[in-house]
């Protein structure tokens, strides 16, 4: 434990300062490089495109795709999954060459290097590099790990096992007992319950606040507080309140003459405890989004509807909901994604590691970092990603909810 002396503070500031300075300098150098190289690259790409037109567009596309995909595969293979460097690491110029050749062959190169795109690419360059290092590289590493048996007994140099891990995600328990399908179904149930109450609760509160009300600002502030509190803090506080002996929930139940509940050890009550906590956390966000949407709906629609004799329910169904859809659709999509991938609530409320309360994300975490089956966990992660991607795409297509925003 280092005590917070002036020396410690100054040293910490120095470390942070030097890191920030390094990043700033690197970003400046990168942007200058892009700026000065853009014109020569633009000219070069045009000359190259003219010379390569004789090959034909289709062969160029095909060759370019093969080279670029090959480069990607080689990079994935070179990323060492274990502690020892990959035996392919010394051949790093090969994928680099393949990438460069593939880019040069591509008919799309000339569309990238345009004079008027110099400034946007210059400004985007640091972010692109950051994303490559912080998102793309870890993903490639994880992809590599998913084809290996990386675990404590194969830590230094794991073996390539092909698609075995992906198959075992569906055929063997993902943790100790529970298989993939029950965890997946439980995650869907968790998402459905939470989203229903988030949207329902948020809508009710938004409708209540979307009127002339005394102390509206105060109510809004209080209702937004759960969202403002750091999520981990709020979840840990709730976990404390679910304590059998000392939690206020059981104290209230006992005072009301009811039996205390085993929130942390009983599968059903633990799951309900997770849902209660997440609903409390998620309603304010929906409320704020829907309130914004409600305030953008012109009052004339409601006046006209009243004149026509529409009841409040009819007004809600035929005016409020359709006009809220451009706001509601992205909010629900976000809600699905955030709830499906929520880690804090299921992990911390389920402190006793009940497999009956695990969602896909927490099961993945335990598989990776508690049981250290890193190869299996990596495959599990990509399966989770695939499911989430499909769910989001299906919803957007089925609801057509974004049509209103784009028309």
């Amino acid at each position: 434990m280092q005590y917070l002396t002036p020396d410690v503070i100054f040293n910490a500031l120095g470390e942070v300062g030097s890191t920030v300075l390094f990043i700033l300098l690197a970003a400046v150098v990168l942007e200058l490089l892009v700026y000065f190289l853009w014109s020569p690259l633009t000219a070069f790409s045009r000359v190259l495109d003219r010379r390569l037109r004789v090959l034909g567009a289709v062969p160029r596309h095909a060759a370019s795709t093969i080279l670029l995909v090959g480069a990607l595969i080689l990079v994935v293979a070179m990323v060492s999954p274990g502690r020892e460097p990959s035996p392919l690491a010394p051949y790093w110029p090969v994928p680099l060459l393949a990438f460069v050749l593939g880019s040069f062959l591509s008919p799309n190169l000339v569309k990238v290097f345009k004079p008027d795109l110099r400034l946007p690419y210059m400004l985007l360059a640091p972010a692109i590099v950051g994303l490559l290092l912080l998102q793309v590289y870890p993903l490639l590493w994880e992809l590599n790990v998913s084809f290996t048996n990386l675990s404590p007994r194969h830590f230094q140099s794991p073996d390539f096992v092909g698609l075995v891990n992906y198959i075992e995600v569906f055929t063997k328990p993902v943790l100790k007992q529970v298989h993939f399908v029950p965890v997946f179904l439980r995650t869907l149930l968790w998402t459905a319950i939470n989203l229903t109450f988030h949207v329902g609760g948020g809508m009710v509160l938004a409708l209540l606040l979307n009127r002339d009300l005394r102390f509206k600002g105060l109510y809004r502030t209080l209702l937004v507080l759960p969202w403002a509190i750091p999520q981990v803090i709020a979840v840990l506080a709730w976990r404390g309140e679910f304590h059998y002996e000392y939690g206020f929930v059981n104290i209230l139940l006992r005072n009301a003459g009811l039996s205390a509940l085993q929130w942390l050890t009983d599968p059903v009550w633990n799951f309900l405890g997770m849902c209660l906590t997440n609903i409390w956390l998620g309603v304010p966000f929906m409320m704020v989004i829907l309130l914004g949407g409600l305030q953008s709906i012109s009052g004339e629609f409601y006046e006209a509807a009243e004149i026509d004799g529409a009841s409040p329910v009819q007004q809600f169904r035929h005016i409020t909901l359709p006009l809220l859809q451009p706001v509601l659709t992205p909010a629900i999509i976000l809600g699905i994604i955030w709830t499906f991938t929520n880690f804090n609530v299921p992990f911390f409320i389920n402190q006793n590691e009940l497999e009956t309360s695990d969602t896909l994300v927490t099961a993945l975490f335990r598989s990776a970092f508690q049981y250290f089956n890193l190869g299996d966990a990596a495959a599990f992660a990509f399966v989770n990603f695939g499911i989430l991607f499909v769910l989001s795409a299906l919803y957007v297509r089925a609801s057509g909810g974004l049509k209103g925003a784009t028309e």
Binding site: G14, K176, Y246, L264, T265, L354, Q370
Partner: protein, 452 residues
Amino acid sequence: MKKHSLAIVSVLALVGLIVAACAQPTPEVVEVTRVVTETEEVEVTKEVVTEVEVTKEVERIVEVEKELEPVEIVLWTKEGEADGGLQFVQSLADAYTAEHPNVTFEVTNKDVETLREDFLTAGLAGAMPDLLWTVNDHAGPFTDAQLVMATDDLFDLGKYVASARAAVQLGEKTWGVPISNGNHLMLLYNKDLIEEAPADTDEMIEKGLELTTGDQYGLVYNQTEPFWMVPWLGGFQGAVFAPDGKTPTLDTAEMVDTLQFLYDIKYTTPIIPAESDYDGADTLFKEGKAAMIINGDWSLGSYKDVLGDKLGVARIPMVSATEQWPHPYTSGVYFMLPVSLEEASEAKMEAVKGFISFVTNATNQALMVAKLNRLPALEVALDDPLIANDPILKGSADQMTVGTPMPTVSEMRCNWDAMKPEMGAVLADTKAPADAAADMQAAADNCVATLD
């Protein structure tokens, strides 16, 4: 004006960052005169050369150390604040720094499971700490992953208690240096609520039922961890491994009996809370709302502070059905050396070795006994009258005599992970003991199969 102000502030901030970033630590020049006697220690200061005159004949050692390489040791410890362990570790680090001003420590507490997970992750990321202060069963996964180094050639291990050494021996090598011996569970009781510890489980249940009222319990223990279940398994004459020490044997009649016993003391003859984790049990006992607790030697210090003479220590009661004493796992706490030290500077390696020798010397072992009430790992320290004359330490040592060494093989991890959810299911009354035993066996077998 606002634009200019913003520009000036930005420039000042940038200049400040540059200055801070360019700050270099100045090497310390320390001239030390140290006078060592048999019975005295002289406080050494950085700036002052001090010579203390002594009247007795003493051995004078004068060391002048110039331009010492600063060494920072990152130490991860499983010791927590609640029982004073972390404070003790920090005090040892501070004392070592006082004697070796160029050596500083960054002490970080992580609970046992978090330490294991984080160290494995750090190993993969190439960002390991310099030293671990942890439990023996981490030796299995850490040696499998080849993340810790053998200590046979680095230290004279013969001066430590044999059973403590044995607990970190795998494949004919020793993978740690013992700090304390024990880390075992025992029965602790509040003499204000119960005069004498029960001799067997029938008596424990009988007394427990009398003591369990709305606000008080006869017995508490951590119901979430199988570490608290295995002593009873031993009492029912069961074991988690076959004689080969690697094949899980969880689906046995003995395990079913153990799970049934734990179920019975919760539901049939309820003497324990409906739900209780480590902190809950600990708090209930400290608040005087539990007559007995099954907890480990690491908690003795804090219970002694709260209960004083009212604290009683005894063996976990004999199982009446089998007339066998429960066998809590015994091990200890150990230093483990990450392999990253092999690439560190010689100064760091020497500092780490020096610190380990310092912590496990007779003086500090006696200090640990006095402050934390843990049995020492150093053999000569066992002769300290503090142990023989202290009823608490005597009780702790007595429990150890019927303990069983905790397995350190990686397969033990499979057993722990298999037993935990099933024990929880039985205690939550969602699974019958027989089904739980079968399921934990399947889970353990599944896990062992994935190890290779």
